[in-house]
């Protein structure tokens, strides 16, 4: 099962990487970067499950939590900047 999640995360990362490069609009780029992040988080969380203990390893969970918060902050500021640029364009 873990293999499936690893694979899933891999696909997410690769696909969003492709779209990140291809994307011509900031919005798409932002979305693809966020999805890429989710792929990475998925990888991390799957790692947490890949253990001999009965409970998953809490450390990756905490790290992913941190990662999500960081990603949200970056997204927030990106959104503000893009909106500003769009408004200027009009």
């Amino acid at each position: 099962m873990i293999g499936f999640y690893y694979f899933l995360s891999l696909i997410l990362v690769v696909v969003s990487l492709y779209y990140f490069i291809v994307a011509r609009s900031y919005v798409k780029r932002l979305i693809s970067v966020n999805i890429l992040g989710s792929g990475v988080f998925l990888f991390f969380v799957a790692t947490a499950k890949n253990t001999t203990m009965e409970n998953p390893d809490p450390v990756p969970h905490a790290l992913v939590l941190t990662g999500i918060v960081v990603a949200v902050s970056a997204t927030a500021i990106a959104v503000a900047l893009i909106l500003y640029l769009n408004k200027e364009e009009r």
């Binding site: 690893y6 694979f7 696909v15 919005v27 939590l65 990603a71 503000a80 893009i82 769009n86 408004k87």
Partner: protein, 288 residues
Amino acid sequence: MLDFALGIMLLSSALVSLHSKDLMKSGVFFLIFGFLSGLIWVRLEAFDVALVEIILGSAITGFLIFKLVKGSKRRALRVSAFTKAWAGLVSLLFFLFMLFYLPTIERQDRVGRLVYENLHKSGVESAVNAVLLNFRGYDTLLEVGVITLAIFGLLALELKREAYHWDNPLLQSFSKLLLPFIVFFSLYITYLGTFSVGGAFQGGALLAGGLVFFALAKQSLPLKKSLILLFMATGLGFFSLVGLFYALLGYGFLTYPLKLSTLTLIFIELSIWISTAFLLYTAYKGKL
């Protein structure tokens, strides 16, 4: 079975979100992606992550993305075949690379066991929060720093933004009615953090959601701007002050004595709760 279904849904929503020419559709599917990944975290027993993903990763990010999409022109720009080709090549290479990598991962105990062994010394009963607040509290301090930084940065640039709202009485009364509940439950989730799934970020983000809802119904919070600013800075300020305080006392930076750790952590959680809430709220609003 469930995993596969969820996985396929996740993947397809990601693809649609990435590929769709219509930015709005991308936005919607991004939100769906967030929800689904929340469910996936649940399947992976990462409950804390799930909660954060649902509240922050999907809801708050979703709000932001909506707003962004709404403010952007929706025109499809043509991509040259060359770009596609090299992008495809890069991704393919990366894919193959990772494919070779994946088998090298082995099932093993990592730091997890150590966390459970030291849990009783941390002042928190939930393992994830113990890591977050105590074992790797420094990370969390910086994380609070990052989010504070981002939002203050956004304010500092003074980027004027359009406000979206719906001046609807029903909505207004509903959001108003809901707010105390949300405050209550966000605090409850924060409280849960000390022994179960939950925590300050989750609680704060929940409250932020409520506040955004409140603001969207064309109402303004009866709080002074300076007070909101103070709330926003509370998390970082309090956390670093605590760190400094213990350093000055001689315990060491961010080192809590065993007896006081629970109390300290509760106050830290509260401060993070309130600042997260107002930070994310401001992140959505774009101004004070």
